[in-house]
């Protein structure tokens, strides 16, 4: 636990200027994607997502979190996610087409990386030993927001990796009482439901059974179970249950 916050502190002290720059680039690119999307901006956003995932893998884990045990496994997760974004960039299938369906939820998701530090401050923590907007969990929530707004033809594997990260968030809540990760958990379950429903509705798989309605019901039931389990773990970790 001590090592956990110490590594975060070192990371924040050394990179806060770059973090501000990353947030600004993310804000400009996201704004342009909404207002004046062009092929160049779409490619730039995709390239930015590759770099952002690599940043977490290399700078966050390899450079600043090397004191943590098994940091390289977590770094590998982020390298895999960067590779998936890279694959989509090269393949050109993911076109950042606006879905318009989930705009409100995605705006909320974009706000979460900024709420993370506020929750830390609310818990009585101070800079640099606090969460910041460019950390693994915040990047996951931002990625969920981007995918939700532009969710036509999503990469299911990427979404499942993001879901697994939320599951890790639960373990951090349970073991270390890091309440900031509640935000990640709350965001992920409905997001996963909506992504997979979009995937089913998109008709990627034709001539299959059961019907779309039945699959959606199964999905809803599964996400419901996951939601109940997550809620139980969160409540139990804070001795509410």
């Amino acid at each position: 636990m001590e090592i956990f916050w110490k590594t975060i502190s070192n990371y924040n002290v050394s990179t806060w200027k770059i973090q501000v720059l990353i947030v600004l680039i993310a804000a400009v690119l996201t704004f342009r994607l909404y207002r004046r999307p062009s092929p160049f901006i779409k490619k730039a956003m995709m390239f930015f997502m590759v770099l952002l995932n690599l940043w977490v893998a290399v700078v966050y884990y390899f450079v600043y979190c090397s004191e943590r045990p098994y940091y390289y496994i977590f770094a590998a997760f982020w390298i895999v996610m960067a590779l998936i974004w890279c694959y989509e960039l090269i393949r050109g299938r993911y076109k950042f087409e606006r879905s318009y369906k989930y705009d409100k939820i995605s705006y909320l998701l974009y706000a979460v990386p900024f709420i993370y530090p506020l929750v830390s401050l609310g818990r009585g923590m101070h800079f640099p030993m606090m969460t910041s907007p460019v950390m693994p969990c915040t990047v996951v929530v931002f990625s969920l927001g981007v995918l939700m707004s532009f969710s036509k033809k999503i990469n299911l594997f990427l979404v499942l990796l993001l879901f697994h990260w939320a599951l890790l968030g639960i373990s951090k809540i349970y073991l270390y009482r890091i309440s900031e990760d509640i935000l990640l958990t709350i965001c992920t379950v409905p997001a996963i439901f909506l992504y997979i429903r979009e995937y089913i509705d998109s008709g990627v798989v034709v001539d299959s059974k059961p019907g779309v309605k039945a699959i959606n019901l199964l999905l809803l039931g599964t996400c419901g179970i996951i939601g109940v389990v997550f809620t139980y773990i969160i409540l139990k970790s804070f001795n509410i249950f």
Binding site: I73, F157, L160, H164, I170, Y174, I215, L218, T222, V229
Partner: protein, 263 residues
């Protein structure tokens, strides 16, 4: 014509034998053990007034069919298609052979029914993904895993299974797919070890169970016991190679985690 036999007046021996070989190959490809394939095909041949002898191999089958009334005979060598295991096709095609035997269908009706049964829609990959994840998480519970370990296994199976579906649809070699998916699922489940959760060893071990080739293993043993030794051996070797690939993937994760094959 004896009671229960299909009218064959307008159909030549070759087309009937071709149909029977396709029927048998479909059963073999769908994961049916040899004696059942032979039984069903012979039953169908009986309904067409034909004597049928089948010799099964791992990738192909040879069918000899002889018309009881004319004495004419034909040999057909048929390639066994590489299909996903389907208990539904297995059951439906077995039922079809009984319907033919009971004399309820003409040859044309039989072909039409077969075509419809084979063309039935398959389960949606998302349904397979969700159900196999629940099944694997249940395995974790059966071996004594905690709720949290079950969650980790559920997520690991989802990620591993979706990679398996994707890679197989791209035509990647099945052995490479198994080794890779075993590595992916176990590395995802290794987070239970990283966080030093209770029963993390169970989570890791059960995360790859969705890959175990249960049906080929059972079919291999059944074939061996029923005298189809060569095919049984081939099926068992195939299944054991898949198990070896799963072990290679799991070992990769263990070496990364502990630099040893022990947890």
């Amino acid at each position: 014509m004896a009671k229960g036999e299909i009218s064959i007046n307008n159909n030549n021996l070759k087309s009937r034998a071709a149909f029977l070989s396709e029927y048998a190959a479909m059963l073999m490809g769908s994961g049916v053990h040899s004696s059942r394939v032979i039984r069903n095909t012979k039953r169908m041949g009986e309904a067409m007034s034909m004597e049928v002898i089948i010799s099964n191999f791992h990738k192909s089958l040879m069918l000899y069919a002889s018309d009881r009334s004319s004495g004419e005979s034909v040999n057909i060598l048929k390639e066994i298609p590489s299909l996903p295991i389907s208990f539904e096709i297995n059951t439906n095609l077995s039922r079809l052979s009984w319907e033919a035997y009971d004399g309820k269908l003409s040859f044309d009706e039989l072909k039409e029914r077969y075509r419809k049964l084979v063309a039935r829609p398959k389960l949606h990959p998302v349904v397979i993904l969700i159900l196999s994840s629940f099944a694997n998480a249940s395995f974790c519970a059966l071996f004594g895993g905690t709720w949290y370990s079950m969650g980790i296994v559920f997520s690991a199976t989802m990620i591993g299974m979706s990679s398996k579906q994707k890679l197989l649809s791209k035509g990647v070699n099945v052995f490479i797919v198994f080794a890779l998916c075993s590595f992916i699922a176990s590395i995802v489940a290794s987070t239970a070890v990283i966080f030093k959760l209770q029963t993390s060893d169970i989570a890791m071990a059960t995360s790859v169970l969705y890959l175990i080739p249960g049906v080929p293993l059972i079919n291999g043993f059944m074939d061996m016991m029923e005298g189809h030794v060569i095919l049984g051996m081939a099926r068992l070797i195939d299944a054991f190679l898949l198990v070896l690939c799963i072990a290679i993937g799991l070992s990769g994760t263990m070496m990364l985690l502990r630099n040893s094959l022990l947890l």
